[in-house]
Structures are given as structure tokens and as C-alpha cells.
Subunit: 446 residues, 2 copies
Amino acid sequence: MKKADVVIVGGNVAGPVAGITVRRHYKDASILLIRKEKRVMVVCGIPYIFGTVGSPDKNIIPDALLSNNGIDFIVDEASSVDRAAKTLTTSGGETVGYEKLILAIGSLPLRPPIPGIELENVFLVWKDADYLAGMQQVLGKAKEIVVIGGGFIGAEMADECKKIGDVNVTMVEILPHCLLLAVDEEFCILAENKLAERGIKIITNNGVRAILGDGKVNSVELQDGEKLKADAVIVGIGAVPNTELAKKMDLKIGEQRGIWVDEYMRTSDEHIFACGDCAEKFSFFTKKPSGLRLASIATIEARIAGANVFELKRKNIGVIGVFSTAFGDFALSTSGLTEKAAREAGFDISIGEAQAPDKHPASMPNAKDLKIKLIFDKKTAKLIGGEISGGVTTGEMANIIAAAIQNEMTADQVTTFQMGTHPALTSSPIIYPIVNAAEQALFKLR
Amino acid sequence: MKKADVVIVGGNVAGPVAGITVRRHYKDASILLIRKEKRVMVVCGIPYIFGTVGSPDKNIIPDALLSNNGIDFIVDEASSVDRAAKTLTTSGGETVGYEKLILAIGSLPLRPPIPGIELENVFLVWKDADYLAGMQQVLGKAKEIVVIGGGFIGAEMADECKKIGDVNVTMVEILPHCLLLAVDEEFCILAENKLAERGIKIITNNGVRAILGDGKVNSVELQDGEKLKADAVIVGIGAVPNTELAKKMDLKIGEQRGIWVDEYMRTSDEHIFACGDCAEKFSFFTKKPSGLRLASIATIEARIAGANVFELKRKNIGVIGVFSTAFGDFALSTSGLTEKAAREAGFDISIGEAQAPDKHPASMPNAKDLKIKLIFDKKTAKLIGGEISGGVTTGEMANIIAAAIQNEMTADQVTTFQMGTHPALTSSPIIYPIVNAAEQALFKLR
């Protein structure tokens, strides 16, 4: 029987990072990672396979990431765990003993109960290179692509499909706006305008009643009766934690359907940790269960779980939720709570807004307009959220806001934040928009 | 006699920001700004006039910034202040009464005692549109330009001059490397290689003995005897606080030759504040006087001074020092202490280094390599400095590091920093280099 001090199940984002973290903190531990994928996709890169990057082969996490860190791995599927014996059995028939087990088994694309979803050329977004290569072949020949779901994944898939060439791409969203669960309405509208400008047809306030076809899909019928021609359909409406193994193991499951974990990332079995999409999360702001699932969160949880396997070193402070998307030279980011989410969570809030070119003077080449909205908790004056649209620096600006949120900076502290600036790289210090939005919010706090 | 509740002297960076801040905090105050420039330059944009932007006219801070905020202004020079009478007299003969006075009179380019510095076509970098327009005319015709000083300003001037066209540009630096006061040696070398690749000739370890010519400059003689042909010479070796008026007023002057101020930005006269390049600064890290002078620091000090004029609301925590430069698609930033500065200040330090592409997967178009070095104080485990080279996101990444420094984050906290990531905008979360560098440093702390 194989044995390892730490056995990790899952080869995607959280698994390797947990392994690397174990190695850093416990240099003599033997680490074995079990994953079902022969080749591992860069998950966030998946939409870009279809246009920008061009192939699943160019979107692979190299196995050297494991071997360079002294992590053994086998390609197989964990099928059961005997918690009393501390052994794991794979569908390949192997039994592996563990001292500590880390579950990093990710999520599964949500499969809505739409009639016709089983038709050929209807795709969920699976994180599997061969599946995606097949999907790419079909999309490459399609003239009419319908994307169901207007969240970040749906919008990115739609934008990338449009790059394939002579193809009509329609995105269908059941809510009044695309991206509405991620950003406030005014930012949704900016993104929708940009997508429309790039040739994506957007239908909102309308769900899908059925996917139609004869073996292969040929159209999509909407709730209002409209029919859209479709050679291919992509369903991107979200993901659910992969908890099948955990349920078989009788581990506790959380309210948001993830594997329950404590603040040290321990499951209900203290020798078993969980991290990433499969693990239950809680909000940094409300401490209540959160449905957010992001690759970045997976890495943070993996850095907590990995450090804690033999000695509790790190605590999870709950998810802030920082994420971005980009369509061409337009980018959109969000950190923490939106106005809508903050109000729904019961916060009394103060909002500051600012705009500025992302270079200075504005006559610098390729300057883009930044639009920023910051949300502060009136009771404590602390920053609890921020949204930005702009150019390529938007993603790292969201991380400045994230750092301010994580450190519980108040509006006054953000106003005197010591940022650096440069004509070719940032807004002018005179109108640096994070600072200006904070000062604006400050006066509404009183 | 004119009277205003708040009189501000200086129209450049700190002056307008102080005025806007006064307006935000004291909405009924009358504010009068006195400046000597008809048109105000975007100071950090000055090097870009000569190449990228093309003209001083495209590098102007619009006066609407003042009028939109209810700030009156006159173009005139403050020549004396009667502190007892609380009046200011201008060289135009006007007398103005004030309740509170803010000095934001900036700095002057350092004029080294080099023989021949008075020759025609030898330029200091004055923040004056007409002067710069004249300078541009000369540079436009030059075939041989010598830049004295290889700091940020010198390097940016050299790079922009090279864009003018068929011209040889040589930069002379007395230290062993360019930018050595700003970043550690390995980053200096990256920048030097980039500048050399862009056609700049760099001479280091060599000072200027004399500037030669007959009325007009024709050559520069170096300390080792080498002579460089020169139709034009730019001297960019730094700046000194403009304290002439303050000295006449008998205000206290600090060790670093700036107008002394307390942590509320009050001078030795409690009705008079100073901010920006003219004001004395102290280090966030050592609390000792600091010679750093940056536009971004000027705006922060102006936001403190402006808020404090009628009621002490904000404290200065000392300068962190966050700044960036860029040559083409290469950018370089620094936040806080370099390794060298930290050791000189007596810190026992732990260093973490990391590299990663600034997009993910690395096959995304225009991905650039990020190189990051973080410096932690061993005693407290707190982050005290960071340097980055990379592409256009480098400047805002330096601001993430600045936020971490300002909030006194430890290596462990930076390792679990909740950043957001996106293929087109940032590194992969798996190898996000700020986080990875922090975790590397963590193990050297023990």
C-alpha cells in the first residue's frame, strides 16, 4: 500500500497550491496528489482557448509545478475514503494511506433542467482539455452560437466566440442585466454597451424555455416564445461544489452546499481539510455562508489549509470576493460588496464616486477612462466594497481596493493613502480616483 | 485690501489639492490661490512633452480645477508676508489678508557648480511652460544631447529625447548605476539594459568636470577626461525645497532644507501650513527627516494640510515613498525601503523574490514578465519595501505593496492577501508574485 504524510485530492487550482504550501511549511513531509485530469487546464483561461489563446494546449498548468516542489502525483480518481483506517481507494483500484488528507475537488458546472440540454453541441464548461478541444472544433464551424447565462463566464465565452470569425453570438440572461450578481447596474450597462459594440447580441430579462433540435441542437426557445437559431449552445450559469466524495465519507456539508470547514479549513474530520470550490465559504463582511467561488479564493484557502495540516498556523478571515473581467481594452473589476449586496446585507452605506484618465496628462497615448465607486459602512466608516471599470490596470487597482478592505481602512485613511503615480502608468495624483472617491464618501458619512 | 479665509501660495501640485481639500472640508471658506505661472504644467508629465505628448500645451492642468471648486486665483508672486498683521504682499504690489496661509511653493531644480553650466542650450528642468517650449525648440534641432543625472527624471528625459528622432542621447551618472537611489542594483541593471536597447548611451561611475562651449554649449568633459559632443545639455540631478519666502518670514527650516512642519503640516507659525516639495518630510519607517520629494507625496500632504486649516483632523504618518518610471513597455516601481536603504537604516531584513507573467496563461498576448522583491523587517515581520519591474500594471502593483506597507501587514498576512486575478489583467493566482515573494520571505524570518 502506498502511503504519504499528506494526500491531496484534486489537481486543479487549490490542489497544487495546497501541495506547494505543505512543502514550504513542512519540508520533510511526503506529499501525494491524486487527480483525474491527464493535463490540467488554467481554469480562468478556459474562455480564452476559443479566441485569444487559440487552443487548450496553450492553457496547461505544467506538471513541473508539482515535481519542482517534491509533490508526487498519480492520475486516477479518488472513489472512497476509509476515515477510520485513514486510507483512500481510487477507481483504478489503488489504496493509499494518509496522515492528513486535503480535499480540493473543485466544482461542477451547473446543469439547469432545461428540456433539450442533452442535445449534441450543447456544452457545459467542463475543465477538461479533451472535452474543450472537441467543443472548440464544433464552435469553429458554428454560424450561430447561443450562450445561456450573462455572468462573467458567459460574457467572456460570448466575447471569445465572436473572435472565432464569421459567427453570430447571442447571450441570454434571465436577470435585467448581464453581470448583475457581480457589479451594480451602472457598471453592467457599461459592460453591455462594450459587448454590443463588439458584436455580441444581448437578450436580458428572458430565460430559456427549451433547447430544440433533432439529435443536434438547431435552436433555442426563450421564455417569451422567441426562437434563436443555434448550431452550438454554451451553458455558463455557474458551478456547484463537488461534494460527492465528501458525502460518501459522511463529512458535514454546509448551507451553501460546500464541504463544511472551520476557520482553519478543517472539515468535520480534524485530519481532513478542504479548500477551493468544493469547500463551504463565509463572507468577510457578514460572516454568513457565501456562494462565491473563484480561483483566487481557492488559492488563498489552499495556502491556509496547506500551512495548517500539521499545526494550526493560519485562520480564514472569510471571502472578500475580488474579481475582474475584460473585453478587448475594456476591463471591469469588483472587490467586496456592491451597493446592492451591501444594502441587502443590511449595511447603512455611504458611496463615493470618481472618474479619471488612467494616465496623465490625458493626452498620453492609450489613456482610458477609469470609473470608480467605493462603498463604505456608515457605522464604522470602513471600506466594504469597490467597483472599477477602465483599461488593463483595472485588475490590479481592484487589488488595491481589496488590500484597503482587508485592512479595514476607513474613508479618511483611504483619502490619505500613499499611492505612487506615473504619467504612463496611473492617473494623476491630483485626481487619483480611489482617493477622490473616498473623500467624496467621507462627507456623506456625517 | 483683498482678504480670504485661506490664502494658498503655489499653483502646482500641492496648491490646488490643498485648495480643493479646504473647499471639501470648509464649504463656506473663501479661498484665494496665488501662483506665478500663467499656465500650470502637469509636473510628472514634463519629460513626456519632448517625445510622447509632443508639446507643453498638451500637458496643462486646467484652471477649471480651481474655478469648479470655488477657488479664486491670481497670477502673481508672493514676495513677503507680515505674520503679525496676517497679510501677504505680492511683487505685483497687491496686499492680501489671510486667516490661514498655506505655503505650497514647491522646489527648484538643483543647479550643480559645474563650470559652464551658464552656457546657452544647457537646461535645468524648470516647471514653466514657456521655458519648456523654448527648450523643446533647441532639443528638436539637436544631434547630440547629453543628460547629466541618471535618476528617474534624467532617465525619462533621455528616453523621451531619443524619440525626437535622429539624435544621439548620452546619460551621465556619477554613481555605479542609474536609478541607484531609487531601486536596488538588480533592478537598475534591468532598466539600464532597457534604456541601452532603446538607443541611449549610458555612462556610469563618471561625473561631469565641465560643460564647454563658446556662448553655446558644444561639449561636456567628464571626470575621467572623456569629452562628449553636445548641442544641448539637460541637467536632472534633483531638486531642492523652495524656501526663500519662508526664510524671509523667519519660519523654521528643517534638516533636509524644507520648511519645518509638525505632523499636522503646521509650520512654526500655527496659522501657516506648508505642504509639498517645499515642506520638510520624515520617513514612515525611521521617523527621521527624509529627502524624498514626489508629486504624489505633495498631494497627500495637501490633503492633510487642507483638512487641518481650521480644525486638526488629519495626521501625517511620514513618507513611504512610492514611485514608478517607464521606458516603452518596460516599467519599474518602488514602494518604501529598498534592500540597501533598509540595511542603511539599521533594519535586520528578510527578502522574498518572485517572478511571474503579468497575464495567465503566459500564452496570452502581450504578457510581460513581472519581477518582484519584497523586504520585511525581521523583528516585526512587517513589510517595509517592495520593488517591481514589469509592464503597464507595475505602477498599480506598487500601490498594492504601498497599501500593505501603510497597513503594516506581516509576511504571513501578505501571503494570504485576498487578491483577485484575471487572465488578461494579472498573474495567475497560483503564482501571484506579491504573495509568493511574501511566503518565501516568511521562512527566512525564522
